[in-house]
């Protein structure tokens, strides 16, 4: 059983953290992963930086630009993850845009992920239809869980389709926004969370976008299986560096 599915079967709410690989410093990747595991995080999204991150707000854009400037590349990230499975057992997901993966070669990329012990991928700009048609078999061959997004605007019919194609969890985008918005959750989110809960999907849902503290984490996980924090974590890293990781994680739950 894939580490992600195993983690999802545990009877607790999951805290997942996103960070941009190569930020703040080029070679921070492995140590950030180790520290996150030590401080009790349940799952990690390793951001593969891209020059044109369409779905991201300023915080992740800036960290991506800085990481690329530091010299981060796909090859470099794979080098940094060499031997990571000797150190941690936490589920690891690579999150990035499709073009760098396409240039590396989709199959080579997936094979490398399996070799390194990566459990899943999130590629916001790889559409479900394209995945299903061209790439699903490759992902499955290498035992990778592919995670799709849904939003408050996603139709019920499409959510059902995504649920059918998925075999891990569904990434539930909390509101119509790019990453890093901090408006908090209101009635719209509450209704949306309840609506999704009542659909009884086969895949558990993990909420992302707009979660930045203990309050929003609790709200998001009232119905969902877990929540992902990205921009707020990167902001903390920018301000305090790696020494702030433990306190940050413990402030969430």
């Amino acid at each position: 059983m894939n580490r992600i599915n195993k983690k999802l079967s545990e009877g607790k709410k999951l805290l997942s953290i996103y960070f941009t690989a190569g930020y703040p410093n080029l070679n921070d990747t492995a140590s950030i992963i180790e520290q996150l595991e030590e401080s009790g995080v349940d799952m990690i999204e390793i951001g593969l930086p891209f020059s044109d991150p369409l779905a991201d707000g300023p915080t992740i854009q800036d960290s991506s630009t800085a990481a690329l400037h530091n010299g981060m590349t796909t090859k470099k990230l794979f080098e940094q993850l060499e031997g990571i499975r000797d150190k941690v057992s936490i589920p690891l997901i690579i999150m990035g845009y499709f073009n760098p993966m396409m240039q590396y070669g989709v199959e080579t990329f997936c094979a490398k992920c399996q070799e390194l012990g990566i459990d899943g991928l999130i590629l916001p700009d790889l559409p479900v239809a394209e995945y299903d048609l061209y790439y699903r078999k490759i992902f499955e061959k290498y035992g990778l869980v592919n995670v799709f997004l849904i939003t408050p605007q996603t139709s019920e019919e499409r959510i059902r389709f995504i649920d059918e194609v998925s075999d891990g969890f569904i990434y539930m985008v909390s509101s119509a926004s790019v990453t890093g918005s901090t408006t908090g959750f209101g009635n719209v989110q509450e209704d949306y969370f309840k609506r999704i809960e009542s659909m009884n999907l086969k895949n558990p849902q993990i909420v992302g976008f707009g979660i930045n503290n203990s309050e929003t984490f609790t709200q998001a996980t009232a119905t969902a299986k877990g929540a992902i924090i990205g921009s707020a974590f990167i902001k903390m890293l920018t301000k305090e560096g790696k020494k702030g990781i433990d306190a940050f994680v413990k402030s969430i739950r």
Partner: protein
């Protein structure tokens, strides 16, 4: 060979809709309705009326006698520069604003590089009374002050794109992020034949009025509908797509696409995507794309802000791969000289984008009786500062 979009939204290897899920409802709504809306009788009536009375179509097809003599062939210029707002861009914005109204959208966003598409969008928003926000790279805002002022006079809000290189690519990113943040009430008017399906096809269809007119105008002048060549400059490729559309399936018509070589193809300061690009994904479509080995999108360069784009529309990528179109790259210097030549020989000051298309005669020889139609996509008023600086006028 099929040169048109297929039912999955692809032109051969290129196209598709590589968009984040947040954009899916908007793009899907457009995809499922655009053809039905565009070919409604009422829509066609309103669209054609506006093209005639507001844009000033049909635009003339002008036989350039002195230019023809100089280059020893028969050169016809399709005068898109005479359209309202000074370029072909308005054909598309008129069409899309009518689509937006029928979709019940009341907020319009657009991206712009040199400002021509921004002005054309602000213009149609003023025409129908819709709120208009134009994203423009911070650097372009400084370079193109008169167009920024025009947009403001037309009631649009111009928002600077401060990320990345602060030019067209980044303005497009910001417009897409705005659309993600405003998924219900907003329509995004993309200005070129780029973006996720159905945009490349929709923009091409709205611009196809150019080749539709060329056909009957040639018939009137020469007794035949087909020229020997059609020529256009290609950045994203909307004027080219419109100029070629009705000739794509006429094998006797040669297609010549002119890209910006910038300082020269191998100088690292170029925008010649067909030569320097590889298959990749940008702004929602798979196409030829200038990028690093690692798949990071690189900054193109051209003296012309309208050709300064790291990709090319998916239809053009397909025309390049299938060799239906011949791609020629023209340097800044050759383009500027061609712009001056047209001014002196024909009394027409072209946009610098268009000047690239006019510069092919150094590289390509035509027969004396070849009929060569060049899309004169825009006028040079906006580029006066560049011309002044370059020629020390």
């Amino acid at each position: 060979m099929n040169y048109h979009v297929d039912e999955k939204g692809y032109y051969g290897d290129f196209g598709g809709a590589y968009i984040p899920e947040m954009l899916y409802p908007n793009v899907e709504e457009l995809r499922s309705k655009y053809l039905e809306i565009m070919y409604e009788e009422e829509f066609q009536k309103e669209f054609n009326q506006l093209l005639k009375d507001y844009v000033g179509r049909p635009s003339p097809l002008y036989f350039a006698k002195r230019l023809s003599e100089k280059h020893g062939t028969q050169i016809y210029l399709k005068r898109e520069d005479l359209n309202h707002t000074g370029a072909h861009k308005i054909n598309n914005t008129i069409g899309q604003i009518l689509v937006a109204q029928r979709l019940g959208k009341h907020r319009i966003i657009a991206e712009t590089g040199a400002g021509q598409h921004g002005v054309a969008t602000a213009t149609v928003c003023a025409l129908v009374g819709l709120k208009c926000i134009v994203y423009m790279g911070e650097i372009d805002i400084k370079r193109q002050a008169p167009n920024v002022a025009r947009m403001k006079m037309l009631g649009a809000e111009v928002r600077p794109a401060k990320s990345g290189s602060k030019t067209l690519k980044d303005a497009t990113n910001e417009a897409i992020r705005d659309w993600i943040n405003n998924p219900v009430d907003t329509h995004y008017i993309i200005g070129s034949a780029i973006g996720p399906h159905p945009y490349p096809d929709m923009v091409t269809r709205f611009q196809s009025v150019i080749s539709e007119e060329i056909k009957w105008q040639l018939k009137e002048k020469l007794g035949k509908e087909n020229p020997d060549y059609v020529v256009a400059c290609v950045g994203g490729g909307s004027n080219a797509a419109g100029t070629y559309y009705h000739f794509l399936d006429e094998p006797e018509v040669g297609i010549i696409s002119v890209e910006a070589a910038g300082k020269g193809i191998n100088t690292g300061k170029s925008a010649a995507t067909s030569k320097l690009g590889r298959d990749g994904v940008i702004h929602g479509c798979k196409t030829l794309l200038m990028q690093t080995e690692d798949g990071q999108i690189t900054e193109p360069y051209s003296i012309s802000a309208g050709l300064d784009y790291p990709g090319v529309g998916p239809m053009h990528a397909h025309l390049a791969r299938t060799e239906r179109a011949e791609f020629i790259s023209v340097t800044d210097d050759d383009a500027m000289q061609a712009g001056l030549e047209l001014s002196e020989l024909e009394g027409i000051i072209p946009a610098i984008e268009t000047s690239h298309a006019l510069a092919i005669f150094n590289q390509k020889k035509f027969k004396k009786d070849d009929v060569v139609v060049i899309c004169l996509s825009g006028r040079g008023d906006k580029d006066l500062n560049n011309y002044i600086e370059y020629f020390d006028l």
